[in-house]
Symmetry: C2
Subunit: 205 residues, 2 copies
DNA sequence: CCTACCGATCGGTAGG
DNA sequence: CCTACCGATCGGTAGG
């Protein structure tokens, strides 16, 4: 029981630290210092740095599910739920759920060139997230809220891109308008996907 | 003369290494080993790790300008140049200009939580890049190729988001369709921005 | 550009 | 959960 509580408090701190310094930049010594415990005492909970990284990822995933995806999934099927997921993602950056912005965007870019179990776990998390987006889009099509010719993978790709772009603009550039821009882009994109027909006019010049 | 050549060969290797392992993961010892020279010999060229990181960033910026932006800027003003910049960016990921994908996307996410000169230099690079995108959009408006009500900052944000999304899908997920999806999204977005008028129809249900 | 070295910190272990 | 320790590597320096 107490071991579990200790472990959870370690992981909460590890998630915050890693969101700022990266999953590789997370060190056992620094983490132990922050928590006022010995390095080896902390180490004993995990057995290796890789296990600590994997456990940290899992804890970050839980936080994301609780703070972002699960509440949005309570919205009614179709367009409302899809919009709720998108708005929840954008709000999630503004609410500082992780102190360094989106944990998984940062982890994705950090580990895309580092093969191993950590990279695989990050990819699995992102696969699930993109899958949830695609599923919400597919349901919205089934409900007749989106055009039949909407490609769920394509639209999910575009929405996720806007989320990553918003995170970038917010975290690195400190652009205050970033979230508003993302919201505007997402809502215009969804409006297009819900239009009954769009004439294929292009510029004539 | 010879010192300059050595320095450049160090930086070429540093750029490749950092694109895979990150600018922080880049270590002087590893880099020296790769190049078959002593750590202190390499170190003498820069004086500190931070200076090495800044020089590596500068070298990566030069490579990006030569491989991506400058060729595209040779295209005629307006829509053709804007499209060329976008296509050049997407091709740049497919051509493996950097072995780990887009150097600056990775650096942006790595350093957005680490204040200092390196982060400032990354932000300056991204500022210039977004500025170049905005300028190309503004010129396309002036030429009458894009609608008057197009917001250059908004459109540049959306295009850059799609680029980052494509990099993510390619590098982490190994999604072969990533570049096609990005191309399709970019071209549809630009087609919308170039339509003379778009009815504000939304779903009625 | 080298050898030789510094203190600090890394992940990890022994033993309790 | 601790103290005490390991070899390896970190960024950086002295001296040539």
């Amino acid at each position: 029981m107490k071991g579990d509580r200790t472990r959870q408090s370690i992981l909460d701190r590890a998630v915050d630290l890693a969101s700022l310094e990266g999953l590789q930049g997370l060190t056992i010594g620094r983490l132990a210092d922050d928590l006022g415990m010995s390095k080896s005492g902390l180490f004993a909970h995990f057995g290796s740095k890789e296990e600590l990284q994997l456990a940290t990822l899992e804890a970050a995933g839980e936080r994301f599910l609780n703070e972002v995806l699960r509440p949005a999934l309570k919205q009614p099927r179709g367009y409302p739920r899809l919009v709720a997921i998108c708005d929840a993602w954008i709000d999630y950056i503004g609410r500082d759920v992780f102190p360094g912005g989106c944990f998984f965007a940062a982890a994705s870019f950090e580990f895309d060139g580092r093969p191993g179990l950590v990279r695989d776990a990050i990819a699995a998390n992102m696969h699930d997230w993109i899958g949830a987006l695609e599923k919400a889009i597919t349901i919205a099509k089934e409900e007749g809220h989106l055009r039949d010719d909407v490609d769920p993978s394509q639209l999910a790709f575009e929405l996720n891109s806007l989320f990553f772009g918003a995170n970038f603009d917010c975290q690195l550039r400190g652009e205050r308008k970033a979230l508003d821009r993302a919201r505007r882009a997402v809502h215009e994109r969804l409006a297009i996907a819900s239009q009954p027909l769009r004439p294929a006019r292009r510029r004539t010049a």
